[in-house]
Amino acid sequence: MTTIALSAVRADRRARRIRRTTVLGFLSAVLLALFAFALSSGQSFTPPLQVLRVLMGEEVPGASFTVGQLRLPRAVLAVLAGMSFGMGGAAFQTMLRNPLASPDIIGINLGASAAAVFGIVVLGLDGAGVSVFAIVAGLGVALTIFGLSWRGGISGTRLILVGIGVAAMLESFISYVLSQAPAWDMQEAMRWMSGSVNAAQMDQALPVLAALVIFGGALLVRAKDLEVLTLGDDMAAALGTPITRTRIVVMIASVGLIAVATAATGPILFVAFLSAPIAVRLTGHSGSSLIPAGLVGATLVLAGDHVGQFLLPARYPVGVVTAALGAPYLIYLIIRTHGGGRA
């Protein structure tokens, strides 16, 4: 009996591992293909060979500018920011055990966005200063939301509703600061209200890359403990998981990821919210969702940016595209989670 049961478990594990590897390979391939596509296509088409030569550092007339200066920074920023949003969102949703407890729904994206706008317009910060300011503000907003929803414990419902309230204030604050800014045009305003990788520069991507290495790395180190937390605190403690330390690390790291990415691109809405559920659907609950969610996030932002730029009658920032995709999913989730037979 036991041997049969054991081998069934082993077979199941193997099947999961195979599925996970396949999905990760598939996602990486899709992302790579999209990245190559984003570099070679645009207003005009650049043959892949020329793209490669530009990437190798050769000076190619025409292509060097469009590919090297315009498309590459934009695609790189889209991938890095999308990964950050995806991983940060997955960490939050796992830690709080609620798919709705995503940074972009409870207002943490907007907190970082408000800080970035305030830092740039009022304090005159730029570069890394904006990122640091956004992290501090993002953590402040996260702590405020947690503090305000604490009543002898955190209830997911209260946390989300409090977050919605805080987000409303932050949104007003952003639109006020922007309305006071001198000659701030619509495009620039859109960046801070809904997120965009327009006019990306390579040096914008650097802080995001650094955040991915530091905070993303920290999350991956804690990935096992994070998974154990989903079993409930008692179980996690019994298994010897350092609960409080894990929570603190996960919170700082995921807010850091979200904040730095937001400081570079604005709050690209619903990427953090959508990535993990999509990733889990694909991998079927096999292992941590952090890496698959990061890949899904990068794919969403890169593809969304291309759709916004070229496939619609006018050019739209990526945040508008992701918001139009994410909102119906949120509505679907509201209906399904509470639908008929399902608890």
């Binding site: 609620n98 209260r158 509703l161 919605i164 309230g165 619509m186 859109m190 739209y316 119906p328 639908g339």
Partner: protein, 331 residues
């Protein structure tokens, strides 16, 4: 509670509203003397002060009317849905009006102000039905969380649709964007004259629905048992709420949280009887929006804060307070 203290409250609140309205006429980027106020009220526009009063009069009147409409609209919505978080802003109804207006301006070339108001009311109505339908699907009906989330999701989706419509149209982008922040700064008597019939119709319908809302508060079955036609009662009251917030949004842009805060304050003051809650909501809503508008002119001198921003800053903490106080049902 007997009627006497409520009547006293009513008089007190009314007095406060008059005081706030006078304040709104006197205070601004430039404070105006009482003498100038009275001179301007008699039609003089000789000094700068008197000219300021001439622009502040319609502004104050619109703030009073819009505040009353939003407060009343919120009170009716909370009554109809029996949900303490129901409110035009949170339910996305305002954004629905915005989207309808953006579509109307960009694709159907609506220019007449009359068409503007009708479009806003239609958009508000369609959105209210949509959000409420989503929120009430599934187990447990329209819980506060589901309704709020449905409203937020709809708001975000509609906002991005508005952007998608407006962004390629530089000619209308600026106008729609400034209208979207929500304010009464650009008010004229013409705007007011235009929305007034809608507001009056909404006020009358809302106030007449008080008894029906009391019946609905007892639960659908009991209300039906008492001979109330539940669906009709709901429909009429909801229509009143929609007309009120649609017309207000057409005139001022989306203004959030007034409809949330005011009915709660009223229940603290006068209890749960809608025959008292509704008139109080109108008066306190008027007072709140007028005060918020004055506040916006004071804190940001020499420029000013749009009233929609002020109400978000006053209202969101209140919203959080309600969320903390209520035992909001778990997901």
């Amino acid at each position: 509670m007997t009627s006497a203290p409520r009547l006293l409250w009513l008089i007190g609140v009314f007095g406060l509203l008059i005081f706030l309205a006078l304040l709104s006429i006197r205070i601004g980027t430039r404070a105006v003397s009482l003498g100038d106020v009275f001179a301007a009220l008699q039609g003089q526009v000789d000094s700068i002060g008197q000219a300021a009063v001439a622009t502040r009069l319609p502004r104050t009147l619109l703030a009073v009317l819009a505040g009353a409409a939003l407060g009343l609209s919120g009170a009716v919505m909370q009554g109809v849905t029996r949900n303490p978080l129901a409110e035009p802003g949170l339910l996305g109804v305002n954004t629905g009006a915005s989207l309808a207006i953006a579509i109307g301006v960009a694709w159907f070339g609506i220019v007449s102000a009359q068409a503007f108001v009708w479009t806003a009311i239609l958009g508000a109505g369609a959105t209210a039905v949509f959000v409420y339908a989503i929120g009430s699907l599934g187990r447990g009906g329209a819980t506060p969380l589901k309704l709020t989330l449905a409203g937020v999701a709809t708001s975000i989706a509609f906002t991005s649709l508005v952007i998608a419509i407006v962004l390629p149209r530089a000619d209308i982008a600026g106008g729609i964007r400034s209208w979207q922040i929500g304010g009464v700064g650009g008010a004229t008597f013409d705007t007011i004259r235009l929305v007034l019939p809608f507001l009056i119709a909404g006020f009358v319908m809302a106030l007449l629905s008080a008894r029906k809302l009391n019946a609905l508060a007892m639960g659908d079955e009991l209300a039906a048992g008492l001979g109330e036609r539940v669906a009709l009662a709901r429909g009429v009251s909801a229509l009143a709420a929609i007309v009120l917030c649609g017309a207000t949004t057409a005139a001022c842009g989306p203004i959030g949280f007034v409809g949330l805060v005011v009915p709660h304050l009223c229940r603290l003051l006068v209890g749960v009887d809608h025959r008292w809650i509704l008139p109080f909501s109108a008066l306190i809503g008027a007072g709140l929006l007028t005060a918020a508008d004055v506040l916006g002119r004071i804190v940001a001198r020499p420029s000013e804060l749009e009233v929609g921003i002020v109400t978000a800053f006053l209202g969101a903490p209140f919203f959080i307070w309600i969320v903390r106080r209520q035992r909001v049902r778990e997901l």
